[in-house]
Amino acid sequence: MKRRDFLKFSLASWLLAGTAAYTGKLFAAGVMDNDAPFDLVAVKNGEPGAMFDAAMKAMGGMGNFVNKGQTVVVKPNIGWDAPPERAANTNPALVKRIVEHCIRAGAKTVYVFDNTCDNWINCYRNSGIEKAVKDAGGKMVPGNTEANYQEVTIAQGKTLKKTKVHELILESDVFINVPILKNHSAAQLTISMKNLMGIIWDRYYWHRTNLNQCIADFATYRKPDLNVVDAYRVIMKRGPKGVSMEDVSMMKSLIVTKDMVAADTAATKLFGKEPDKLSVLRLAAELGVGKMGLEQLNIKRIAL
């Protein structure tokens, strides 16, 4: 082998190895933490993208969740017409990084949508999420049309037996739930399970039919393959939309787990509230959605 060819060959090998290692698929053992697998990873003191990178490294990489050629639906909170710094919507930098991870893991298409509360066009644009997703190579899909929602049966539902769910949730291979931790005037806090109210159509029915039970019931329907709780900026009061910047506090934290109840329990503690006081957590735990007892979980705590 000539010297030049050798250099080319080794350069190519390095590039290939680097790429492969990054996806976490081929060289998973190399990037995984010794105590893995973890049930929950919590990260602190970093920027949204960096915290997600760290969390996914501990989780063994996105390749553990997304296989090549799969379709992924990412569901951030894009409910409100508010700029990113007001923290009414999931941090766009985080959403962008998640989409990038999915695409690097070989996802065929990464869809992002929310059934917004304010006008969806304003929400998508002013939250910064539309641009972030497009820049990362994902697809923003409108969530405002009833025709895209299909009725499903909630087999384990106590109160909620049927509801209309967006077809992307039904059709996509992987479902990543990306709530933002916020104070909520009605539910006290809104985290992973409350975020799923953005994938269903008839919220009126839920609201007038024992809201907390409906939220817990629906959490049994399709558990997300991954929950990423954004707690970078957090609305501490006057949520879930917030009125001004005075409602927002920097928490610079992130929680990643497959277990919605664990995610919400940990996030509640992060917020400084007692998980026992949130009835929706209790109801969901009773239905077997997940675990409230964090001590039973293998948790990785990372302070950047």
Partner: protein
């Protein structure tokens, strides 16, 4: 340049203006292109005049320019700028493609009818109702045609395209809804459209010359324009081709005279003339002494009509014209910037531009909710949608100043109505389960939650309520809402939400609370 080309120039300009107006009314992007609106409505007579009266600003002097142009060139407005005029031309063009050409002929003027309509329109306006301006103004009529009739067609095509593209996983074209469809308003608009259609097919521009108050008013300024269509009596062979081509019906080819109060300066007669004897020129110094100007009785008739009307109205006015804002409680909520019922109903001509442009579609055309004198004027309909706290698009697009231009900061201190909570039907108080949709959506937290038997229940602070209607729209109680916005006949000031203490920064630490 041959004068025959004037007609082509007129056609090009008028189509361009109509295209712009149509674009402003029916383009898909709800928030873009407001600035285009200003250019479009600056040269629209009634919007410009009304915004001049309501705003008194040099940015609204388009109507003065139109009047000056009319004195110079005659009623060119009606052929070049008026969207309704061009709509009629287009209708006739299409009709002629389908059926053989119908020849026009000279129409006798109907001065009494014209001036009565104009006089009534002005007098009723002075007495505080916009009814006739609203019904007859060509810009507002065009606006209603575009928003009620053309826009649905656009939505139909758009949504079909969106569905096809979505099946290929392309989402750049999205489904558009038409929440503000009101059958009665649609039918009234359709009725007016059929009337205009019949007028234009059977009587050319007779709507413009006997009904349209703008046409009649401009006619008073164009009795002796500086530049005008002239028939060269020496060259005229009396072939009548000009009369047969004149859609305004203002050429009397027997007498070889033109009624300039009705001539809309469309230049159709110039190329029609067999002997090139029709020209558009300034009045020459030596005029053939045999040619008299058309015996115009316009001003005299107008004054006569006004006198008769004035006498009648002085006696009857208060009785026949009930104040629009008589009982405010029953009347709809008007958008922020419209000051209140009186201002809004005085200046709104129901062109539906705000309805077309409202991103949340909370602005909905009314039918009789404002009373008969305020038909079709938009209202805030909180059963269909709610007003976006950060949005002032309606105030930016309103062509007449009925909704005054306001900033987002100003809007946040305008209370167009205030919140009213009925605890009895409220889910939390009634069913003892959590809900809180109202407070969740409230942008100011005028609706806030308080502990209540282990739950959280809504309470209200109307002082910081802006009346956006989010609470009413999302309230899930059926059939009646437990929380509603009660309208203000005159808008009030909303207090800004209190500036609370900034929460403590969570200091960087390596500790996790779990």
């Amino acid at each position: 340049m041959s004068q025959a080309r004037l007609r082509i120039v007129r056609i090009v300009i008028s189509l361009l203006i109509l295209a712009l107006v149509a674009f402003v009314f029916i383009s898909p992007a709800p928030s873009a292109y407001h600035h285009l609106r200003k250019g479009v409505s600056f040269f629209q007579f009634v919007p410009s005049l009304l915004s001049f009266v309501s705003l008194i600003s040099w940015t609204t002097i388009g109507f003065i320019i139109i009047l000056l142009l009319t004195v110079l060139f005659g009623r060119a407005y009606c052929s070049f700028l008026c969207p309704l005029g061009t709509i009629q031309d287009v209708l006739v063009f299409i009709k002629r493609k389908v059926k053989r050409k119908k020849k026009y002929r000279y129409l006798r003027p109907l001065p009494l009818l014209r001036y009565t309509v104009l006089g009534l329109t002005i007098l009723i306006f002075l007495f505080g109702s916009n009814l006739l301006v609203e019904m007859l103004d060509p810009f507002s009529l065009s606006g209603r045609f575009l928003s009620q009739l053309a826009r649905p067609v656009f939505i139909f095509i758009n949504n079909g395209l969106a569905q096809v593209l979505q099946s290929w996983d392309i989402y750049s074209v999205y489904l558009v809804s038409w929440k503000t469809f009101i059958p009665a308003v649609f039918l009234v608009t359709l009725g007016f459209f059929l009337m205009i259609l019949l007028f234009s097919i059977f009587r050319g521009r007779d709507y413009c010359n006997t009904v349209c108050p703008v046409g009649t008013l401009l006619g008073l300024f164009s009795i002796r324009p500086v530049y005008k269509i002239r028939i060269d009596h020496g060259g005229c062979t009396g072939c009548r081709l000009c009369e047969l081509a004149c859609k305004a019906g203002c050429i009397d080819s027997e007498k070889k005279e033109i009624d300039y109060s009705r001539c809309i300066v469309c230049f159709d007669c110039i190329p029609a003339c067999s002997g090139k004897s029709i020209t558009f020129s300034s009045v020459p110094a030596r005029e053939n002494p045999e040619i008299k100007t058309f015996p115009s009785t316009g001003r005299r008739d107008f004054l006569k009509g006004m006198t008769v009307l004035g006498l009648g109205l002085v006696v009857e006015s208060c009785k026949i014209l009930p104040a629009t804002a008589a009982s405010s409680e029953e009347k709809p909520i008007t958008p922020p910037g419209s000051l209140g019922l009186d201002h809004f109903t005085q200046y709104c001509t129901a062109c539906q531009l705000c309805v077309s442009r409202c991103p949340t579609q909370v602005l909905t055309p009314s039918f009789f909710e404002y009373g008969w004198s305020g038909m079709l004027i938009p209202k805030m309909d909180y059963m269909r949608s709610f007003c976006n706290y950060e949005c002032v698009i309606c105030s930016e697009v309103c062509p007449t100043g009925a909704i005054r231009k306001i900033t987002t900061d100003e809007k946040k201190q305008i209370q167009i109505g205030k919140v009213w909570l009925r605890k009895k039907p409220c889910i939390v108080y009634d069913q003892k389960t959590d809900c809180g949709a109202c407070s969740e959506h409230c942008p100011t937290k005028a609706v806030y939650m308080v502990p209540y038997h282990g739950l959280f229940a809504p309470e209200v602070d109307p002082s910081i309520c802006v009346g956006c209607g989010a609470c009413q729209y999302v309230c899930p109680t059926i059939p009646d809402k437990a929380i509603m916005v009660v309208p203000h006949a005159i808008h009030r000031q909303a207090q800004l939400p209190a500036n609370e203490e900034i929460p403590d920064e969570v200091l960087p630490s390596d500790e996790f609370p779990f």
